[in-house]
Amino acid sequence: MTNQINFTIDGQEIVAQEGQNILDAALANDIYIPHLCHHPDLKPVGACRLCGVEIDGGHMTMSCLEPVREGIDVRTDSPVIYQARKIAIELLIADHHMDCLACAAAHDCDLLTVSAYMGVQPERLERLRKTERDLPIDTSNPFFQFDPNKCVICGICVRTCDEIVGLGALGFIDRGVSTVVGTFGNKPFVESVCESCGECVVRCPVGALAPKKPEFAAREVQTTCVYCGVGCGIYLGISGDEVVSVRADRERPTNEGSLCVKGRYGFNFINHPDRLTKPLIKKNGEFEEAEWDEALELIASKFAESKGEKFAALASAKCTLEENYLIQKFTRAVMGTNSVDHCARL
């Protein structure tokens, strides 16, 4: 049981939980403080230097690193804060490949959010020297790509792979302005220990780590992953009659927002042309398409000939509870045998 902490942000009364940081508390109360390197799942590092606040009139301090304290008066803006933020965001933009229209993050870019908040002026940007950089894009992974030219070195991907995935496939390479995010030895992603889970892609605040084929779901349906026994909660993204994306369910205790490569990216089999769409009946060694009635009649009559010990059924660990229940009920009650099993042992 955590204690409640009362304090004010820009004069507004805030109630937060003990241990929460000021930035999270502000965001939870719809007070925006600019930030790029913060993610609620990760330990704060204070690298982007955008979320500065002043507490009780003191020096600027990063709100992501500052725990809430009873009775403090937090200011999210001041001339010093404004100057530090302004310079930081202007430098970021001068360093960034701003091909926003073609960018996968165009609709969900924290850099654009911060610059909109700060009201970045073109004439100020023109004074700055642009970074000349054209690093190769790593397209080695089939599901996502990494464009270091769009990377803001917030380190969210590095920390995600370390703190969430526990893998540490990513790190910082080189230093200063040459710093890039990369795998051990700066090899392509697929040649590293990367497990392609995409946790970093989900959390990238800009378009540096982005799905190769960004799809926009018109609606989402909450369900459970089809693969292993962990049973991760997911949302299927639907566009028209097709599943176009998978998003992890943060509320489900099984996975709490995490997914693996199969769960996140392995859904295209649903739309695969190999899908069976018609009952097939083998005639003279060849399958022929049939209507349901014909197939069901045939099965009913054949099964009727093999009741009792002559019948066996294999249920499925891929089917639902209800379906397995019906298969064993059918086997036991209709066919009169207990010879029902499934591949639990394989």
Partner: protein
């Protein structure tokens, strides 16, 4: 040692070693074999440009620039009881007079050597030499005659402040770490000396390693730590070697390890090799590096005193800070507090370098003026015909102070007030031939390369400032660039995560403050007043040229045209501005002129 026993001390600091002092030592030993003259080696004397240095005790005869061929006369004078070898005396740069001892040499006579007191006097690889000078008496006094609280109080009362540059009161740091509750605490020594040209810490480690170990052990006793690490950059192999020897000897003699001096205090020290990143001199980056991670700073608070190495309370001080500790314990806080100024106690060690006659390490009491250091100890300008222009203190985090600040007392607060800082102790003297914009560019080039890349203002801001400064010195400066530099500087100082970024704009800010006209000349008139920025200068041959052909023959690009005994001229399209023509033109002719501000620039 009896009064008539002679000892020859040969310096084997890194500088003298690279000038073959080990071979000289071998020669001395073989030459003096069988005599009653003992040959020993020592750490650095600080006056490295005069090395190798040989001292003959008890007279204290000081021989400078000793070569292998000089061994024979030295041996001869010692064996035959003749007088000293006068030609090896140090020559005063002003009077050209030969000075025979330390005390005669102004470079030394005006210093107050506390931290460096054993450097150049004892054999750093022999603990007995250290013990003979009162070594480990401070530790003994601390653990047997004092309580941890009393030790902390003594350091507090002494007024000692951090010698790494920041100047935080050392006693308060000790108190915080002592007060932090934990069974496990660490004592770290920051020996990641990285400022360009600075070698104070290295000299202490090479010349008097036990003083640092003793200081750390006293600190361990005071704060309740059992383990210490010295984070020493791997580029200091000699310092690491001597530290290792010192640690082993101290363990053997019971000054480190379990049950120190048969008491119940346990403390041991290991060396951690830094891999050469400047930012690892920042305390949180240093800690992160010891933990085995990429050396990047963490945001503070929490401070290391509360949550440091492996999240345990950690005391981190500079080499020289620890070297001062035993002096405070031995001589008392009052004695230490009597040296220096009201707020800056004790001495400061500087690496004096640049356009100065006597470069080297100097230790002075706090409060001495810049003028005394530069002109009395340093002997003034390297070229007496040139004027003093500025002095840079505090390394890449510091600033450049002009002539009007020469009477500023050297202490933490006065230097900060002037826009510079004490820093870890670099002091670069510049003469009139120095372009201050180029100096700023040089330091930004350093910080930009050494930025770890973690935070936005430092990573991108230092690069932006460097780009602008490069544009200015190369003639591409634009109106508004000065204001942009100032704008960036404020944002970077306010926004950066660690000290590296927070101080990186200082060289620009101080040069803008005191030498703004130079920036304006570069930008508005494409002129470099110091005539140093290649892109902004041209070489011309005046009509006083006698046609000797010296410049023509030396020009590597064949840009100089002219017949023998006839007036020469420079084809500007071929000139690479190397300046060789200027240098070779005979002084009595003096027909090559450097011009600036007249250059037609290609529009970029």
């Amino acid at each position: 040692m009896e009064a008539n026993d002679k000892t020859v001390l040969i310096c084997r600091g890194t500088g003298c070693e690279s000038a073959k002092s080990p071979a000289i030592q071998t020669e001395l030993m073989s030459g003096l074999q069988g005599s009653d003259v003992e040959v020993k080696f020592t750490g650095c004397h600080g006056m490295c440009q005069q090395g190798p240095i040989v001292i003959v005790e008890p007279q204290g005869t000081f021989y400078a620039n000793v070569k292998l061929k000089d061994v024979e006369p030295i041996v001869g004078s010692l064996k035959n009881g003749g007088g000293p070898v006068e030609k090896l005396f140090y020559k005063d740069p002003a009077t050209k007079e030969g000075l025979s001892t330390y005390h005669d040499i102004p470079f030394y006579s005006r210093q107050k050597r506390l931290v460096l007191q054993n450097c150049g006097r004892i054999d750093p690889e022999d603990i007995d030499d250290y013990l003979a000078e009162g070594g480990y008496e401070g530790l003994k006094k601390a653990i047997f005659d004092m309580t941890p609280d009393a030790v902390v109080q003594a350091v507090l009362d002494s007024g000692l402040r951090g010698r790494g540059g920041g100047g935080f009161p050392t006693g308060r740091k000790w108190k915080f770490t002592q007060d932090a509750p934990s069974d496990t605490k660490y004592v770290l020594c920051n020996a990641d000396e990285g400022d360009p040209g600075a070698f104070m810490d290295r000299s202490v480690l090479e010349g008097d390693p036990h003083a640092v170990l003793e200081g750390m052990a006293i600190a361990g006793f005071a704060i309740g730590a059992q383990k210490g690490y010295i984070y020493c950059r791997a580029e200091y192999p000699l310092a690491i070697k001597r530290l290792q020897i010192a640690i082993e000897q101290a363990r053997e003699r019971g000054y480190l390890g379990k049950g120190i001096m048969d008491g119940d205090f346990d403390f041991d020290i290991d060396i951690f090799h830094g891999a050469g990143a400047f930012v690892c001199g920042e305390e949180t980056a240093l800690i992160t590096s010891i933990e085995g991670n990429r050396g990047m700073p963490r945001s503070r608070p929490p401070y290391p005193a509360v949550k440091g190495l492996y999240d345990k309370p950690t005391l981190l001080n500079n080499v020289k800070t620890y070297a001062n500790v035993r002096l405070i314990i031995n001589n008392g806080a009052d004695w230490f507090a009597s040296i220096g100024t009201e707020k800056s106690k004790g001495t400061a060690v500087f690496a004096l370098t640049g356009k100065i006659a006597n470069s080297g390490l100097v230790e002075v009491p706090m409060g001495i003026t810049l003028r005394e250091i530069i002109f009395d100890i340093g002997g003034g300008m390297l070229d007496p015909n040139k004027n003093f222009k500025a002095v840079q203190t505090g390394g890449p985090s510091g600033g450049c102070l002009p002539e009007s600040f020469l009477d500023t007392p050297v202490d933490y607060d006065s230097l900060i007030e002037a826009g510079s800082m004490m820093g870890s102790g670099g002091m670069v003297v510049m003469d009139e031939d120095t372009c201050m914009v180029d100096v700023a560019r040089y330091f930004l080039d350093f910080t930009e390369k050494e930025s770890c890349g973690k935070c936005v203002p430092c990573r991108l801001g230092t690069k932006q400032m460097l780009d602008i400064l490069e544009d200015i010195v190369e003639g591409r400066g634009k109106p508004g660039d000065i204001e942009l530099l100032e704008d960036l500087a404020v944002g970077i100082k306010a926004g950066s995560l660690c000290g590296l970024g927070q101080t990186a704009p200082n060289p620009v800010l101080t040069t803008l403050r005191y030498f703004r006209d130079e920036y304006e000349a570069h930008i508005n008139h494409h002129a470099c007043p110091a005539k140093q920025c290649k892109e902004l200068i041209t070489y011309h041959i005046l009509d006083t040229c006698v046609g000797c052909g010296l410049c023509r023959r030396n020009c590597s690009t064949n840009a100089i045209i002219g017949e023998q005994k006839e007036l020469h001229y420079i084809d500007q399209s071929l000139c690479h501005k190397c300046g060789v023509c200027f240098e070779v033109c005979p002084p009595k002719v003096f027909s090559v002129e450097i011009r600036t501000g007249e250059v037609k620039l290609v529009e970029s």
